[in-house]
């Protein structure tokens, strides 16, 4: 009997083609859309189209599944998503850090709840439209390798996926370029072929996370505390309306007249202050990270060198990684890196293989 796969479908072209390709490979396909949030809960415009978790996206999934003759289900995971992702997102900003909710969603929703759901209905695998390869290395460990499309690499947000979860994962798009994926979709007349993609945080569809945080807090009858914006030399320069609205390296939105450009250097939640300074001061060589997950390698006992990436759009840079006895790592880059931001993910690579990752402390 063919192996059964539950394909995570967003309504976009990537996951549509993933489902199609797996069917061509002989798998028994079941499509599923994870309903993660409602517009009424996150604000923004219910009639905007082209977004995940809207009725229109779900309809697109239905048509694609119908075209490939696969059953299709909508799985409501909004309660899990709220607890694991949205609440964490808010809490992180309030604690002066800058979270990556996609990382959290991947490890705590897609590769846990979704996988569990897949297994509960008798599926052998889950599949996604990520541009990456899942494969077993010579050391027996399951690993992720960057896809061949250099503009589409999504391995960075997958560092938190466990070995057990990876062993049950298929990613059929690793060997394709985005434009090839669109061509396949066109060839098969999939209605998602020309669909634009969004790169915002899915539950902040207007890309205004400040608005989201403010509304979220107002719903719980909470307000952000205004405080001081202080220069690194100790001079008070102005006032902010809540430290949560700032992230390291940010330049805009401070409303301060100053002879040279000012950038957020640090967020001091203990004193409710935003510390600013010049661009040069943002460059640092070292960082600490915790909540580590090792992917391609066993937890290393010796320091090692790797290409290290500190945010989604960051070009990985060489560094030495040292594991500490408390399970965290200390990282020293060969050259200073701009705006190392607590709460963001750090991912280690050897060439195109994801070794592991963690959260910047």
């Amino acid at each position: 009997m063919a192996e059964k796969v539950l394909v995570a479908m967003s309504g976009g072209v990537d996951s549509s083609v993933a489902a199609l390709l797996l069917r061509e490979q002989g798998y028994d396909i079941i499509g599923a859309h994870m309903k993660l949030w409602d517009y009424v809960d996150v604000g923004a415009d219910i009639y905007k189209d082209g977004r995940c978790c809207t009725i229109d996206s779900i309809t697109d999934c239905r048509f694609v599944c119908d075209a490939i003759d696969a059953p299709f289900y909508v799985l409501n995971m909004s309660r899990h998503f709220k607890e694991a992702v949205i609440d964490d997102f808010v809490a992180e900003y309030k604690a002066g850090r800058t979270p990556n909710p996609c990382v959290r969603c991947n490890s705590d929703i897609k590769w846990t709840e979704f996988l569990r759901k897949a297994q509960s209905i008798g599926c052998d695998y889950i599949a996604t439209g990520h541009y990456a390869y899942v494969e077993q290395g010579d050391n027996g460990r399951w690993r992720l390798r960057k896809g061949i499309d250099p503009t589409r690499d999504q391995s960075y947000v997958l560092w938190g996926v466990t070995q057990d979860a990876l062993s049950k994962t298929l990613m059929p798009l690793g060997g394709l370029l985005k434009k090839e994926v669109r061509e396949i979709a066109r060839k098969y007349n999939l209605r998602t072929a020309e669909k634009k993609e969004s790169r915002e945080i899915c539950f902040v569809p207007d890309d205004n996370y400040g608005r989201f945080l403010r509304e979220h807090e107002e719903k719980q009858d909470r307000r952000f505390e205004p405080g001081e914006i202080v220069h690194e030399d100790g001079t008070v320069l102005g006032e902010h309306d809540g430290t949560a609205f700032f992230t390291i390296g940010q330049r805009k939105g401070m409303g301060i007249a100053y002879p040279t450009p000012l950038y957020v250097q640090r967020i001091d939640t203990a004193n409710n202050r935003v510390i600013v300074g010049d661009n040069d001061a943002l460059f640092k060589r070292e960082l600490d990270a915790d909540h580590l997950n090792w992917v391609a390698i066993d937890p290393p006992s010796e320091p090692f060198t790797a290409q290290v990436k500190i945010r989604y759009m960051h070009a990985a840079a060489p560094a030495e990684v040292t594991c500490l006895t408390d399970g965290s790592v200390h990282i020293i880059f060969d050259e200073k890196q701009r705006a190392i931001t607590p709460g963001q993910s750090v991912a280690f690579y050897a060439d195109d293989v994801l070794l592991g990752g963690g959260l910047i402390r």
Binding site: K35, P71, Y73, R79, R116, K117, S120, I121, G122
Partner: protein, 390 residues
């Protein structure tokens, strides 16, 4: 394996006789029932014949029967129409704790946005409401009491007349949603003493998009729609003549088969429930074994998610649902089961099987052959169930 359809409370296929009755009115007899000419008159006659037939079925005067697009519209016209009509003098509504969303949501809208006070009449563990409890809640400010006849999730049947009397005692109108009872048990608006009653066609082998609202003579409602004098301005819009003809036919057949269907389905349900209780540990039946539309069988498989059961059974060609079709996909436990005192874990693990004319013992045996292993597999992966194990 032919699909086993156990979701008749969601909808049913139109009976062949129903389709046959409708076809002429989609084609050659296509007239607009409001037109003056001969083609229009033919349609009008068909419409009024259907009205008489349905009126007779529920024991009302044809002039008291208004055609709508279905249960949701009938419920909305009744609830919103009564509230808007009486809002100058009355500001209070009472609905049952297990109402369908078509009553619950308009009532909640009136409470949240229109200044009405809303009381919910509780039910006992079998889903039954009490008339004496209602008498305590109803006041001379109560515009409307709406309590459903048979529940869509559990099939529990209310004895309506005493509830209607309690409402009338204080001068309130009384509406009942009979969408799940019509054609399955006796529905007589005089015996039930109701002022308004909603019904629909597609739950009883009639066409979708057809329904009716009985409004007792002399009762005033504010209309929700404007745009013509159809249905005495209470529901303007060109009449759905083929639909109404189909609805009348469906009720005619239901009238002929009701008692035989009831007996057969009651026996099948009894067998099915007992087998499930016997074969699958930690399973409970929700509702009333006796005061129930027998085709509805609501079971809780403790520690599993109803949604997963529905998906797993769908992959085995068995159609059933968790909760009602209108709320499937919602992770919150059913308000119906919660109101009946079912705890959250059992409510999450609830499945509704609803049988119909095509249901056979062989089909139920097939379900019984795959259900125990399905539940067992889901429980093996359920942290909730594993924690509870002794």
């Amino acid at each position: 394996m032919e699909p086993v359809y156990l979701d008749h409370n969601a909808t049913t296929p139109a009976a062949p006789e129903v389709i046959e009755a409708m076809v002429p009115y989609l084609g050659e007899l296509f007239g607009n029932a409001s037109s003056v000419h001969a083609i229009g008159r033919d349609a009008k006659v068909a419409l009024e014949n259907a009205r008489e037939q349905i009126a007779q079925f529920i024991n009302c005067d044809p002039s008291e029967l208004y055609f709508t697009s279905g249960g949701t519209e009938s419920d909305n016209i009744a609830v919103l129409g009564a509230a808007y009509r009486y809002r100058r003098t009355k500001n209070h509504l009472i609905i049952g704790a297990t109402e369908h969303h078509a009553v619950l949501e308009p009532a909640e809208h009136l409470a949240h946005s229109e200044g009405f006070k809303l009381d919910i009449l509780p039910v006992d563990k079998e889903g039954q409401a009490s008339a004496s409890k209602l008498a305590e809640l109803v006041t001379d400010k109560t515009a409307l009491v709406s309590i459903m006849h048979a529940n869509n999730e559990t099939g529990s049947i209310q004895e309506i007349a005493p509830l209607a009397e309690a409402a009338h005692e204080k001068g309130s109108l009384f509406h009942t949603d009979a969408v799940q009872s019509i054609g399955k048990i006796k529905v007589d608006v005089k015996e039930m003493k109701v002022d308004m009653l909603s019904l629909t066609g597609h739950k009883i082998y009639g066409p979708k998009g057809t329904g009716a609202l009985f409004i007792r003579q002399g009762i005033k409602l504010s209309p929700l729609f404007y745009g013509g004098s159809h249905e005495k301005k209470r529901r303007p819009g060109t009449e759905n003549v083929p639909g109404v003809v189909g609805l009348a036919k469906a009720l005619e057949i239901a009238g002929q088969q009701r008692e035989a269907d009831y007996k057969r389905l009651n026996e099948l349900a009894g067998y099915f429930i007992d087998k499930m209780l016997g074969l699958i540990p930690d399973t409970s039946f929700n509702g009333s074994r006796t005061r129930r539309v027998p085709q509805t069988v609501n079971m809780s498989f403790r520690g599993v998610e109803g949604e997963s059961v529905v998906l797993a059974l769908d992959l085995k060609n068995i159609a059933c649902s968790s909760g009602s079709a209108c709320t499937s996909g919602v992770t919150a436990p059913s308000h119906v089961l919660t109101a009946m005192g079912v705890d959250n874990i059992d409510a999450q693990g609830a499945i509704r099987f609803s049988m119909g004319r095509v249901t056979t013992k062989e089909q139920l045996d097939y379900v019984l052959s795959v259900l125990p292993e399905t539940i067992e597999r889901l429980r093996e992966m359920s942290p909730v169930y594993q924690q509870q194990k002794p």
